[in-house]
Subunit: 402 residues, 2 copies
């Protein structure tokens, strides 16, 4: 009973409701480990704290002796988007898929025991399907059902084209569950639809349908959107200790309760104690320091956490004469490399996307933009990007590149 | 110019409008025959006069030296309907497909030179496609576009399930055009959507898109619905001369102009002369006799036509003391075999579907039903089916089984 409680902790969706109890009962009865599936899209190998929410749950299953199976979606990654409309979906070569999978497995190692997990490539069965097998699989699903998926539904009702092959991808993802005979499929709540495809295909193909277990989507550094690489609001699992620490310090205070729960490994009572301190009026920045240290300890170690905290204090607090907090911005998140030159105007625009170029031009001309504590008033200035560079835009925005 | 006129004669749709002129110009310039595609569904090998409308147009192309390619859709026929919902689409074995194709080719021989035509099976390329090739082909077409096809649209808007593989079939049919590099695809107007798929796929795959040439759908013996085996309103190309003749005599008079055009091979002036005779008040039955004789001559010979006319006169006109015309009904069309016993009530219901069973029961009890000129008043009577059997139902309906 305690096990069930622990496994259900923080889950957003368990489908069917009693699915976890049922699967555990089956495992006990048949004296075998459960097969826990997690799909991985090899076009996006950079893992962040959002992924970690799911991976930590996976770790719980693994620690209970169950079999984790990571399904690398190389089949679709190698095809990409044949319509060429989706530029983020350009086809990957087999070598690229392999490299991305290796990067991914290395990051997985921070959270689960990769030696005990099975890593399989869905191309190994999908590439071998005959055309008539594919038709058979497609016949198990209706068009109306597929168009219920949120993104398809939105596009269909707004007359944004959906190519036929896009409907096929979730069906193939479901077929992966049949192939590995998954008992449980894990994912974020945004994967609910695709995971239910697995249930359906298993059922029509004579298997017991898997239980779907979705974790909540972690909010990113901005405190608004889900953590996502494309939104530049992530903390990467391989980010350096200093960057991890500084990024954590930049989250809005409202995020603290959610991050305590989903990101830290504080015990329930430790979490309660920290929330208690906030309630009695303690500066949220101190709580964030605890969270930041906890995160760095998880993904690096306690020494690194101490070092990062000291670095943060030096860099962002003591050194600044006005006691301003400088928001750290990683070059990676800006999609920039050191030593590249670009217009000051463009750099400001990247950092403060909400301001129009005209606004920024006015700020520069009025002397409200400072680079490394020097006013720059020439709107045509070109700057050479470097970590440590400090940029002040207007009265309230202080950025430090790192 | 005369050739174009002849080729356009009786066509319902030419897409694009100038497509025929363009294709003929290309053929002339490149000094090669055009490739004229006709798809054949090997689940339905029985050809009738409706098919002949398309085949006669195909014959014109063949007589001009163009290359007819018959694409046997064995790929989908062998898969059938995996959902099992469509009972008319049960999977065929390779042997069944071969047998049906042979039957089909034999019937084709009545209208085109089968030795000059190429007969290809689409399984020979579809079965060899890799799963990623299939995804590529599917990516060329949008879901919204497929749902525009009449039957899909009706089902989608009425929430009748459409399985995903059903959307794939027309796309594969279009891919056949790419494979055989079709210049022109022919079909009835009900094939327009599928034929335009071929245009689209050829274009996205770097070929000049085929011209689509659709013939009108011939009305069947009932004068209402299109001629179709499932509606039991056909004249089969292999029907015996007597049956062909008698069935033709049973068409409603309003059908005469359409049949003169699409079914007979009377010249334009001969057709005009026959229409003229009707306009000056001649009995339409005499015009129908001319049509019937013409049809029998086409599919058998002039001698057979003469024999069938004489047989018809003996059987249906002279012998009947009341000079009633007995409507011939073939056992095949009733889906019956000789010597099978069935309830009189059921037989009447098959012949007069518009009457309810209660109506028929009343007619029998009131003595209004005669079997071979004998009143039958027992509603539980059982009859043994035999050709030549005459059944009178009420005052106006006279049927003869043949």
């Amino acid at each position: 009973m305690e096990i069930i409680q622990k496994l259900k902790e923080h889950t957003a969706i368990v489908l069917p409701e009693q699915g976890l109890e049922q699967q555990l009962a089956i495992a006990a009865k048949e004296q075998r480990p459960l097969i826990i599936k997690l799909g991985f899209d090899p076009t996006a190998p950079d893992l962040h704290l959002g992924h970690a929410v799911v991976l930590k749950k996976l770790r719980q299953f693994q620690q209970l002796g169950h079999q984790v199976v990571i399904v690398v979606g190389d089949f679709t990654a190698r095809i990409g988007d044949p319509t060429g409309k989706n530029k983020s979906r350009k086809p990957l070569s087999t070598a690229e898929v392999q490299a991305n999978a290796a990067t991914y497995v290395a990051q997985l190692g921070k959270l689960i025991d990769v030696h005990k997990a099975r890593i399989v490539f869905n191309g190994s069965w999908l590439d071998r399907m005959s055309p008539s097998d594919m038709v058979q699989v497609m016949s198990q699903v209706t068009v109306a059902q597929l168009l219920q998926r949120n993104d398809f539904n939105n596009r269909f009702t707004s007359n944004t084209p959906i190519a036929l092959h896009e409907l096929v991808y979730p069906v193939l993802q479901g077929f992966d569950s049949v192939q590995i005979r998954a008992d449980i499929e894990m994912g974020g709540t945004d994967q609910l639809f695709n995971c239910t495809m697995g249930r359906q295909l298993q059922e029509t193909m004579g298997q017991a349908p898997q239980t779907v277990l979705c974790m909540p989507l972690l909010k990113g550094l901005d405190g608004k959107e889900k953590m996502s690489k494309s939104l530049h609001n992530t903390i990467g699992l391989t980010d350096a200790p200093e960057l991890m620490f500084a990024k954590t310090m930049s989250i809005p205070d409202e995020l603290i309760p959610e991050w305590l729960q989903l990101v830290t490994d504080f015990s329930i009572s430790e979490q309660e104690a920290l929330r208690g301190r906030m309630q009695v009026g303690e500066n949220p920045m101190l709580i964030k320091k605890c969270i930041a240290a906890n995160i760095v300890t998880q993904y690096h170690d306690a020494g690194a956490a101490e070092g990062a905290a000291a670095h943060f204090a030096r860099q962002f607090q003591q050194r600044d004469p006005e006691q301003k907090e400088w928001t750290p911005v990683s070059l990676k998140d800006l999609a920039q490399t050191p030593q590249v030159s670009l217009q000051l105007l463009d750099l400001c625009h990247k950092l403060k996307g909400k301001l129009s170029r005209t606004d920024i031009r006015r700020l520069i001309e009025s002397g409200a933009v400072q680079l490394d504590h020097q006013k720059i008033t020439d709107v045509h200035s070109v700057v050479t990007i470097a970590p440590g560079m400090k940029l002040r835009i207007g009265k309230r925005d202080f950025f430090e590149l790192c």
